[in-house]
C-alpha cells in the first residue's frame, strides 16, 4: 500500500529531513514504533494531505510538515498504531480531519494539534463519550471557519460529557452562528439561541432534547474498572460534590450531559459545605420525594445517604460503589 501522489512528492522532496526526524525520534524515544508510524502516515496523514491538495495544492507541503511532526509526537507517545492507548486520536485523523481540509490548509499546526489534543482529552478521561464528539464534529464541522471550528469543538465536548467545561463551552457557543449553535446543542432548528442559553444558565439539568436522561450514575468498583475502591462518601460543594473512597478523594461535577470525577484532596473534602437555599428531597425508606415527583432507589434504605447542592441530589449507599445523581428541580 502506498501514499497518494501529492504526499509521495512532498516526502520525496524532503526525504533527508523527514528521515532525520524519524531517526531523532527513535533516539529520544526508544519505544518509538516505526511500523505504526509508517502505517499511520498511510492511513491517516495521507488522506488529509490528499484532501488539502485537492482544494489548495500550494498548502499541501506546509500541512504535510505539520502533520508529520504531530504524527511523530503521537507515535513517540504510543498514541497511534495497533497498541494505541487512546484509539480516538487515530479515529479522528481517519474520519474527521480529511473532512476539514479547508480549515487545516489555513492553520495546519493549530487545527491538527488542537483537535488531536482534544481527541486525546476525550479519549483518556473516563466517563466521556469521545465517539459521540467525533460523530457530531463530522456532521457539523466541515463548513466552519477555523475560529468556529475550535468553538464548536468545545461545545460538542461539553455535550459529550465534559461537564466541568460547561461555563466555557456556553461562552464559546455564543460566538457561533445561530443555526450552527442550535444544531450543536441538539435543539430543534428554528429555536433561538438566546432562549436556549437562558434555560441552560437557569438549570444544569435542562436539555433541549427531552430524550436525554435526567439522572446519572457514576462510580463502580475499581476492581471491575470503576472509580471507587470502597463505597463512596459524598459531601456537597459549590461546584459539585466532594467524594471520598478509601484514601482517595475526588470532585464530582455533573450536569445533564455528563458526570466527571477529578482528583481532590482531604482538605477539600473537609471544607465546609455550602448553604442550600432550595428544598431538599424527602427520604422515605428507599424512596426520594422531590416536590411533585418520586424516585425509587434500588438499594436498601439502611445506609442510604442523600446529599444535596444547589441543583443536584447525590445518593450513595454503604452497599454500593455508585453515586446516583438526580436534579432537584
Amino acid at each position: 500500500m502506498s501514499v497518494s501522489t501529492p504526499f509521495a512528492r512532498i516526502l520525496a522532496a524532503g526525504r533527508t529531513q523527514f528521515n532525520a526526524r524519524v531517526a531523532e525520534a527513535k533516539r529520544r524515544s526508544p519505544s518509538f514504533d516505526s511500523d505504526a508510524f509508517g502505517a499511520f502516515l498511510i492511513s491517516a496523514v495521507d488522506p488529509v494531505i490528499a484532501a488539502v491538495d485537492a482544494i489548495s495544492p500550494d498548502r499541501a507541503a506546509s500541512v504535510a510538515l505539520s502533520a508529520y511532526d504531530i504524527a511523530l509526537m503521537l507515535a513517540a507517545q504510543g498514541m497511534i498504531g495497533p497498541k494505541a492507548r487512546y484509539p480516538l486520536v487515530g479515529r479522528a485523523w481517519g474520519t474527521l480531519f480529511p473532512a476539514l481540509a479547508q480549515q487545516i490548509s489555513e492553520e495546519p499546526a493549530e487545527v491538527l494539534g488542537a483537535l488531536s489534543n482534544a481527541a486525546l482529552y476525550l479519549g483518556s478521561t473516563p466517563n466521556l463519550r469521545g465517539e459521540e464528539w467525533l460523530q457530531h464534529m463530522c456532521e457539523l464541522a466541515p463548513t466552519t471557519t477555523v475560529p468556529e471550528l475550535l468553538a464548536l469543538g468545545k461545545v460538542l465536548a461539553w455535550r459529550s460529557g465534559v461537564a466541568h467545561f460547561r461555563s466555557g463551552a456556553l461562552n464559546a457557543a455564543s460566538t457561533l452562528p445561530e443555526n450552527l449553535v442550535v444544531a450543536a446543542v441538539g435543539a430543534t432548528p428554528g429555536n433561538s439561541w438566546a432562549s436556549i442559553r437562558a434555560r441552560f444558565d437557569d438549570d444544569p439539568w435542562w436539555s433541549p432534547n427531552a430524550e436525554v436522561a435526567s439522572e446519572r450514575c457514576i462510580g463502580d468498583f475499581s476492581g471491575f474498572g470503576g472509580s471507587f475502591s470502597q463505597p463512596p462518601e459524598v459531601r456537597a460543594s459549590v461546584s459539585g460534590f466532594w467524594v471520598k473512597s478509601g484514601d482517595r478523594y475526588s470532585l464530582l461535577i455533573a450536569d445533564v450531559w455528563g458526570a466527571v470525577l477529578h482528583p481532590a484532596s482531604a482538605e477539600e473534602f473537609a471544607s465546609p459545605a455550602p448553604i442550600i437555599k432550595f428544598p431538599v428531597p424527602v427520604q422515605k425508606g428507599n424512596r426520594l420525594i422531590f416536590g411533585h415527583r418520586a424516585v425509587d432507589i434500588d438499594l436498601p434504605a439502611e445506609g442510604l445517604s442523600v446529599v444535596c447542592n444547589e441543583t443536584t441530589a447525590a445518593v450513595s449507599s454503604i452497599y454500593s460503589h455508585q453515586i446516583r445523581l438526580y436534579p432537584l428541580q
Binding site: R21, E24, A25, R27, R28, D69, I70, L72, M73, L74, A76, Q77, M79, E107, A109, E110, V111, L112, G113, A114, L115, S116, N117, A118, L120, Y121, L150, G153, K154, A157, W158, V162, H164, F165, S167, G168, A169, N171, A172, V238, S239, L251, I253, H262, P263, A264, S265, E267, E268, S271
Partner: protein, 526 residues
Amino acid sequence: MSAFDIFKRVSRAPTNPGVAVKPRQFDVAELYQGPIQVSAAGEESAAPLDEKLRQAYFWIVNNAIISPHYDIEYHDGPAPSYAIGDTRRSLVLPSAQSYSSFILLPLLTFATRKKCLFVGGPGRGKTASAILMGVLAGYAVGEVRRAMQHGHPQMTIADLLGNPLPADLINAQSMDEIRIAWRSWLSMRVKIVDEYNRIPTRTQSALLTVMGDNYAEVLNHIFECPESAWYLTANDDQGGGTYQVIEALRDRIDVIVQALAFNPRFLNDLLLRIEENARPEELAPREIIFSEKEIDQMGNEIRAISVPEEVRRRLEFFCSQFELSETAGVQFEYMTKDTARLSGVDWAQVVAADNGRDRLKDLGCQTRNGVSVRNLMTLLVFAKALAYFRGNRAVELEDLRQILPFVLHDKLQPDLEAPFFCVPENAGYRTDRLSWLRRLFDLSCDEFNRLDLDRNDPVSDLAEEFALGLEGISERETRARLTKIERLVSELSKGRKLYGHLYDDLQKLKYLHQRYTNYLHWLRAQ
C-alpha cells in the same frame, strides 16, 4: 514548532498537586492543550506564580541540568532507608516530592532577589546555572553572558562599575560635569559575578557597596541599581582563590550551594546534547520567563507566607544555643562569643576556661560564633520562599530544617576541636557542613521537645501577656507581674548550669522587668 522540542517542554500543572484548598476553576481551553504544542488555538491560562516557579524548577531539572541530586528530602509517610557502606550512612528514598538544592536554591534566590554563591570544582555547571537564572528573568542568553562579570586579578573598579568619559575628564570644571559610562550589568535584575574570589581586594570593596547597598559610586556620581538576584561563583568557598575574600562581602551572601559531581549514569543525556547541538539555556520556553512585575508580585506573595508560632519558637530556641560564652564576660550581657572574638584572646583559652558544662551535650560548644540578625532574616525569607515554592501558605518545620544549612553554611563556624566532632561517628560532620547544620537543628528540636516548651514555656507566657499592651494596667497588677518575673528568674537560675537558651530567656525576662519597671515609674508620676 518542532514536535520533538523536548528541551522546551514544561511540566504540566499542577506540579505539586493537592497542597492547598482553592476554589476549583476549569478552563475549556484545556481541551486543546496536551502533548502537542499549539501556539494559537488555545487561549493561555495564567498560572499562579508559585506554580510557574515550580514549572521553571521542573523544566531545569528535566531539561537543563543533568543529574540532579535530590538532597532536599520531604516525606509524607514511611520512606525506605538503607544503611550503605562501612560507615552505614543511610540512603533514604523520599516518599514526597523532594528537590535538588543546586537548582532549587538559585531559584528561590531568584524569587526573593537575594544573593547566592555557587561553590564546587570547575566544569560542574555553576556558571551555566547562573546564566539560566538570567534567562528566567527574560534576558537573552547573549545579554546575560555579556553582562556577567568575570573575576580576575587585574580587575579594577572601573572594569566593574564604569569609566568617566575621557573628554569630560579633560574639559570638566567640576566633578559634577564628569559623566560616567556605567557598565550595563549594573542595571540588570540578575547579576552574575563569576569567580568572585579572584577579584582584587580594593575592587571587592566596590562590589560590596553594590551588593550591600544597591548603588555604585564613581567620582562622586551615584548609580542606583534595581533590586536584583545575585549569583556568584567560586571554586572554593573557604576564602581561597587569588585574593582573600573580605569578610563583609562573604557576609552579604545569603545562601551557599554546592555543585555536586556529575553522575556518569547520565552520560547519554550529555551525548544527546552534543549530537543535537542543543544548549538548554537558549531553549527556555516562554511559559517560565518572569517579567519584572511578576517577580515583584512573587516577592510580595512570599513575604505574605506565615511562620506559625511553633515553628518560630523552635528557630528561636535553636539560635539561642550559640552566642553564650559564660567565661568571656563578667557583666551578664557581655557573656558572648562575640565579646571573646573582639578581645582578640585566643579561642583555645576561652574554651579551656569553660569547664562547667557538659560540652558534648551543649550545642553551643560546637560553634565559634552565634547567628546574626542578617542571617536570621535571610533564614526566614528563604523558609517562606521554600513554603511558597511548595504551594503552602505557612512555613512548616521541615521547610526550616531543609533551608537552614544553606543559609548558615558559611555563617555558623564549627569549632572542630569541640568534643562533638571528636566522637568517631561524628567525624563526617567535620567535612560535611550541611549535614552538620541539619543535625544541629535536629538536636536542638529534640531538646526543645524534651523540655516540653511547646506546652510549658513560662517566658513565652509572660511575653504574650506583655505583648497585649500596658494600656490600663494598674500599679497593683504591674507589681504582681514584676514579682512573677523575679520569681521566674530566681527559679531559672536556681542550681542549674547556664545554657544558651536559658541565657536568652533570662535576658528576655530582664527586658520585660525593665519595661514594667519603667511603666511603674511612669504610673507613679501621674
